[in-house]
């Protein structure tokens, strides 16, 4: 695949990532995930299934939670992308990230960025989601360590923290 990639001309993609305009050349068939990781050096979004099954590459595209592996990098041209790296504020962890640490919602950690993004998205839309809503909102994220119980604890903890602040 590498040789094949070298043969075709790259395209220039310019995207606003976490508030900052970023531009890079990329293989025309590359996904937004590949663009973020390989061109922009943002390794928070993880590459696992490459078919939208696992949610490890979840980012916001123009405010909507999407799998970045299923977005063509060129489709994100002139659009706004927010990644897990954009959640920290001046080096301080986002309340969802803090809750994951405190609840022990991390085993191997590979799925964690995707879950953190999906939980942050959920709590931005619904400050006190029901258990069913939480499960539904996280149905596109897979944890193969099967640490779901602790992840659900982290969601409750984060929701409570965020409610206290408002």
């Amino acid at each position: 695949m590498g040789a094949q990639r070298a043969k075709v001309a790259d395209v220039v993609v310019r995207t606003r990532v976490n508030g900052e305009w970023r531009e890079a050349e990329v293989w025309p068939g590359a996904s937004l995930l590949a663009f973020l990781r390989e061109q922009l050096g943002l390794f928070g979004s993880k590459n696992a299934c490459e078919q939208g099954e696992c949610g490890s590459c979840s980012v916001w595209l123009d405010g909507a939670l999407v799998c970045s592996c299923l977005v063509l990098a060129a489709q994100a041209n002139d659009r706004e992308v927010r990644t897990v790296e954009g959640l920290t504020d001046a080096g301080r962890l986002h309340p969802v990230q803090e809750a994951f640490v405190e609840a022990g919602a991390v085993q191997c950690g590979f799925c964690t960025p995707g879950f953190v993004v999906a939980v942050a998205d959920l709590l931005e839309k619904d400050a006190s989601p029901s258990p069913a809503t939480v499960r539904e909102a996280l149905s596109g994220n897979i944890c193969r360590c099967t640490g779901y119980a602790k992840i659900l604890d982290a969601v409750n903890l984060a929701a409570a923290r965020l409610l206290e602040r408002t």
Binding site: P28, G52, E136, G140
Partner: protein, 292 residues
Amino acid sequence: MDVFLPRSLEEALAMKAERPEAVPLAGGTDLMVELNFGRLRPPAIIDLTRAAELATHRQEDGHVFLGAGVTYAAIVNELPGFKPLVQASRSVGSPQIRHRGTVGGNLGTASPAGDALPVLAAYDAEVVLRSQARGERSMPWHAFLMGPKKTAIAPDELIVGARWARIRGPGSFSKIGTRNAMVIAVAGLCLVIDEDHRRVNVALGSVGPTIIRATPAEEQISSAMASSGAWQDPSTAVSEQVIDEFAELVASAARPLDDVRGTAAYRRHGCRVLARRSLAWALSERRLPTWL
């Protein structure tokens, strides 16, 4: 590989006319998998997500037009009056997938497992196509869906959307799979009752080379309801025997295969169960007409 980013449908059609070998890309939930796995290297890709006309829906003269670029998330949020369509859309993938996947993608991919397709079939929808050279044409869903991953689209055409006459009556979409989320249906069924024409429409997904209408079952239940007076009086009970016959006829309309997701026998049985359930739901809904 060239990537085109047209800003309107008109621009997209001009590009498709010039480069008929270009592959249209919407939500990417099918095409990107092929690209990511190296199974497809199209000479060109046309991104349709900037063509705002495709992401619209409207209702006019008793008809509904659903743009090819309307996502499943948008259907769930914006079209609550179309319950079977909302139920099918709600069952697609995950939140991430529903934010990107479109009805046009289900039509273009033409997989028998496309969740929106049995609904469009039960609605008797037409598929609206457009080219720069010949303008717009539409054809019934069954003429468009020619077989597994095979459609009647011309190389210079794009799918503009689907259109159907609004049906007054209850209905549902249901499917069988191993989870509630991220499931490719083992069997899917849409049942719609058309009160004005006194018909029951039943369409099956994932149990044949393309979407199947269970015509003998539709005729059996529609005429049984006519002879029992159930059309005039929704409180009239439909006998167990009639329901059994209906479920059996739906099951025998399926043309399933054995594959990794299920055996043909399991799929056929699934159709029987879904048929019985969805008919029971629709009949009880007729007694409490929340759909009015």
